[in-house]
Subunit: 637 residues, 2 copies
């Protein structure tokens, strides 16, 4: 490795010469990777090579500091150019060139088809296009919150420039004045279906400028131009984009300018010719294939959830009495309390809260008042926010986003999935879930949040029963690593003594609100309060003692509770969630896996799109009111 970090006012001839030599080596390595794996994307790897080498050369990001928090960040949005990225990283000493050439896209290797965080120097696993700038904005916001005056570089292809989420990120970057955010577009004008302007015309210069960015056009194959542009980026008081004119397959002889090599290896003859042209030995491939047979030895660095934040979680509030608060309100109050306790306090992890123009409904106004600099108004741009709060969460802040259920998960499921894949620590608060959304009607009823998150592996989900539990779960969530979703409704409900005082929230534990031997009702979140009313009626009118279990963690059923309930002869489940995919369905699956035979059983839930009316009306129409629960229990029994 003969390269040394790029500093100084401009590059010397010697530096440029070293970089050009590195680019030849790196192209040869990338080509070998794709040929060894017999799959991959050589075209973009070649066209972005000078961009990769320049950015990793100038960034305050090294093999030594790449797992630290306060440093520069690099996001490769066009993650399919992975072979080029790994090759460039090997030139800068992050990874071993021979291992990468041998085990690119080999099962168990760190060198996956799309870049992942397991590879040092990769800050975000990508591949689904259009999300990189959002990721970069999140890193930049985290840097700012930690008073680190650094840079975030986001490299993108040009095909993905049409994705709507990109425009959202451009606007947020300008509004938040993220002048350390530097975007680079590999403008080779070729995408899978051919010329970019025929596939989908899009005036790159006009769009970036319209959103308020400083637009700089450079020769994307000139280290000199790239360096000058990168040095000066941000100096106009705006975020900057470098539109880098490049050639797909650059320096790859017959690959040059050919769309086909976007995503396929070259022929063996072409391989040999290109390697010779690059001054490399064509036998490199044979050696790589020989090593490939032994299986990968490098699985990459271990990526875990971000460390637990250092924050004070304060003293829980107690809510007593009938309809004392809505859960969203209790969340907002606890958030404001914790926000105040930790705001600009030395040694405390900053808490950032994101809003998509719904503050009065999602109750984050209290936090905004207590911690104004840490409240980020993002407008109606949920896709960007879902990604941005995810990356911020792995860069030294607690990041929390509150939104209506349908916007916080239905609209951005893929972004939240990628947060899961990336082991982020995104705290997402869904208000207005289930049928408790007021009169907004079916398009706003988020009846699938349990079912959606059940498709991930890492997300935790808490659906509190009352304002007391909401308060305690909010404080727990803010202090706990990992992606966590808190789902709360809109209506005022009772404060229960079971969750007040010294009650401590424990993830995965169901709480028995009522003893009973004649059957058991499991109810999700606030519907446990409806189930209690049904149990009252069953006791007073039918002399039946029915146990009521409140479930707050539907993704992690409490198996002890299910075992106990099974002995009562009847299990009825209640939730204002899609009946196929919610708490009840998950209980059935886990019981079957655990070999627990369920007794007489029925699950109540949402079995058609709901009406527009008061929450009471809508639940009644759906058969999730106390009277319906009584009727159903008696039928099952």
């Amino acid at each position: 490795m003969s390269l040394s970090k790029l500093t100084g006012e401009f590059l010397s001839d010697e530096q440029i010469s070293s970089l050009n030599a590195a680019a030849k080596r790196a192209r040869a390595a990338a080509l070998t990777m794709v040929s060894a794996a017999k799959s991959g994307h050589p075209g973009g790897a070649f066209s972005s090579m000078e961009m990769f080498l320049s950015v990793y050369g100038i960034a305050n990001l090294t093999p030594e500091n790449c797992s630290d928090l306060n440093r520069d960040y690099v996001v490769i949005s066009h993650g399919h150019t992975s072979a080029g990225v790994y090759a460039a990283l090997s030139e800068w000493g992050f990874v071993d060139r021979e291992e990468a050439m041998a085990h690119f896209r080999n099962c168990g290797s760190a060198f996956q088809g799309h870049v992942t965080r397991e590879v040092p120097g990769i800050d975000w696993g990508t591949g689904n296009l259009g999300q990189g700038l959002s990721a970069g904005a999140g890193f930049a916001l985290a840097q700012r919150a930690n008073n680190y005056n650094g840079r975030v570089y986001v490299l993108m292809g040009d095909g993905g420039q049409t994705k709507g989420q990109l425009a959202e990120a451009r606007r947020i970057a300008v509004k938040e004045n993220l002048t350390g955010l530097v975007a680079l577009v590999d403008w080779n004008d070729i995408q899978i279906s051919g010329n970019r302007n025929k596939v989908m015309p899009c005036d790159l210069k006009a769009l970036w400028a319209a959103d308020g960015w400083e637009v700089i056009e450079v020769d994307g194959h000139s280290f000199k131009d790239l360096y000058n542009a990168l040095k000066n980026a941000g100096s106009h008081g705006k975020p900057s984009v470098l539109l880098c004119h490049t050639v797909i397959g650059k320096d790859g002889l017959k690959m040059e300018g050919i769309p086909d090599y976007h995503g396929k290896p070259v022929t063996p003859e072409m391989y040999d010719e290109i390697m010779k042209h690059l001054g490399e030995d064509p036998a490199t491939l044979t050696k790589a294939l020989e090593r490939r047979k032994q299986g990968p030895s490098y699985k990459g660095r271990k990526i875990d959830y971000p460390a637990a934040p250092v924050i004070e979680t304060g003293t829980p509030f107690n809510y007593e009495g009938a309809k004392v608060s809505d859960n969203r309100g209790a969340f907002g109050k606890a958030l404001a309390d914790v926000g105040k306790l930790n705001y600009k306090k030395d040694g405390k992890t900053p808490i950032l809260v994101f809003d998509c123009d719904l503050k009065p409904s999602v109750m984050t106004g209290g936090f905004m008042n207590e911690a104004p600099d840490n409240f980020i108004q993002c407008g109606i741009q949920e896709h960007c926010v879902a990604t941005m709060s995810g990356t911020a969460s792995i860069a030294g802040v607690v990041s929390l986003w509150a939104d209506f259920g349908v916007f916080g998960i239905d609209e951005v499921f893929n972004q939240q999935r990628l947060n899961d894949i990336n082991h982020a620590g995104n705290k997402t608060v869904l208000t207005h879930v289930g049928l408790d959304v007021g009169e907004d009607g079916k398009t706003h009823q988020c009846i699938d949040y349990v079912g959606l998150l059940h498709n991930t592996f890492g997300w935790k989900l808490v659906v509190p029963v009352d304002p007391n539990q909401t308060d305690r779960a909010t404080r727990w969530m803010l202090a706990t690593p990992g992606d966590i979703c808190l789902a709360v409704g809109r209506s005022k409900i009772d404060g229960l003594k079971e969750f007040a005082g010294d009650y401590k929230f424990e993830y995965g534990k169901a709480v028995k609100l009522r003893e009973g031997k004649d059957g058991s009702i499991f109810a999700l979140g606030y519907t446990a309060q409806i189930a209690l009313k049904a149990a009252d009626t069953l006791a007073s009118e039918k002399n039946l003692n029915v146990a009521v279990w409140a479930v707050s963690c539907p993704l992690s059923p409490d198996m002890d509770a299910i075992k106990e309930a099974a002995k009562t002869g009847v299990i009825l489940t209640v939730e204002d969630h899609h009946v196929n995919t919610g708490m009840g369905a998950i209980m059935v699956i886990e019981a079957a896996r655990a070999g627990i035979a369920l007794p007489k059983f029925k699950n109540l839930g949402v079995n058609h799109y709901g009406a527009s009316g008061t929450s009471d009306q809508v639940r009644k129409e759906m058969g999730i009111d106390a009277d319906s629960i009584v009727k159903e229990f008696l039928q099952v029994k």
Copy 2:
């Protein structure tokens, strides 16, 4: 109703006077609705009122033709302004004013919180912002495919102008030269969190212009200006947007200019004052509330799935032998065949196919060659396409969109949910599902498509076992109403005789590929071919005869098959899908509901994010190869 359709070169003074009177009546009606329901959005209803009245006046859309296919379409993207829309519709004779005033947001009424198709004159149920222009583009493409030279009007708020999906739709409209598409933006500069340019700065004029639209600024409260602009829209050979300068709460006295009234009713005192100001009787509310007590009498028109298309589905191909084709290839071949048979044939329903720059991978190139004018290249803009192909499907075409699984459902779950709510007929083909995605790795493994669609009520899902079944399911899908998803893998697999020849695809039926009395394996899609190999091993090495059931319709388990299998003492399920949410989980839930006791049971599936490697490698690492199935079967047995 004193209004008559707006025609002629310009509006007469008399027409303007009638319209102004109508606007006063309609504002009074909208205000009454919100006050009667004690919820709703009066601010935007008032600021958009002249836009609503003008568009419904000029459009070739009447109470008589509003359920026909070939006519103008109107999309209200800011669906929360519903009270204003219903009031305007009552002025144009679509709905009854008194009923709307009495039963706005009343459970069971057609007049829901966000506009729905049940109300005549509403062409798409909305409320989730940013999707309206995509919806409009779909209607415009359907009009063009049916040689109907009409208009599509899309009305939007200004807060939602920042949503990325909107930019995608702008670009597609320009590329496809949809000059009949007319957008109107209610530019009142107020959103929930305050002034639009403080919440999230966004240069409306520059953005629409940068994407190639004709930008026209008008006074959004002047019928004269609106009419002139609407008349001339499209005359510059581009799609046109009217940026309508308005005042939130216009003509509502103290409501004017106040963000608070975005989403809350006025006080009783304000109500009375505004009604008097509008020349209406404040007792209107009392009457409406009296009528409200009786419950709604008008549920709206019945919205069903689009009628079955009139197309030839041709003669199925037969695939014989080992690794004869990939399912995606069989889909592409059948699609091209049906495309050719029906292309520009009199009396046949046009078939539109949408691509997001993945044609070579999703195999729609054959169709493009056979039916070039009906192939719509949309670039990397999936959100727009998901909505657009949905609306096109209810406007007289068969619309089909093929994409990688993670883009066709994970990225656009909310759009597909809204297609379901709207009873669309979107055909979505997901290629690269499960672990069969080649070396692309975890970000591209769509392991949740069953689980995601299980959260809807109307979507059908077919996961074919082999190229023969793929061919037949493709032809079936194209001729069948409703939202249907076909999910196919990437690798070449065997053609099975069971699905060749006269086999007819039947939705919901599992196919027994192998008899057996010592246990049963249910396997999803192509994994049935792996299960067959496992059954071979169990027979030859352990002398066990294990039944193998191929499941293609995981959302509709075949209960007869489950009952039969339960008698064999063991059920093992196999799928390359998330183990919590796929076919196996659904079988368990439905068995519990049907009271079928499962025997010894285990479900195999994806229990962590997969590796990057060949599909064989990745499945083996996940324990979904034939050897693992044998091992697991023996353990359960």
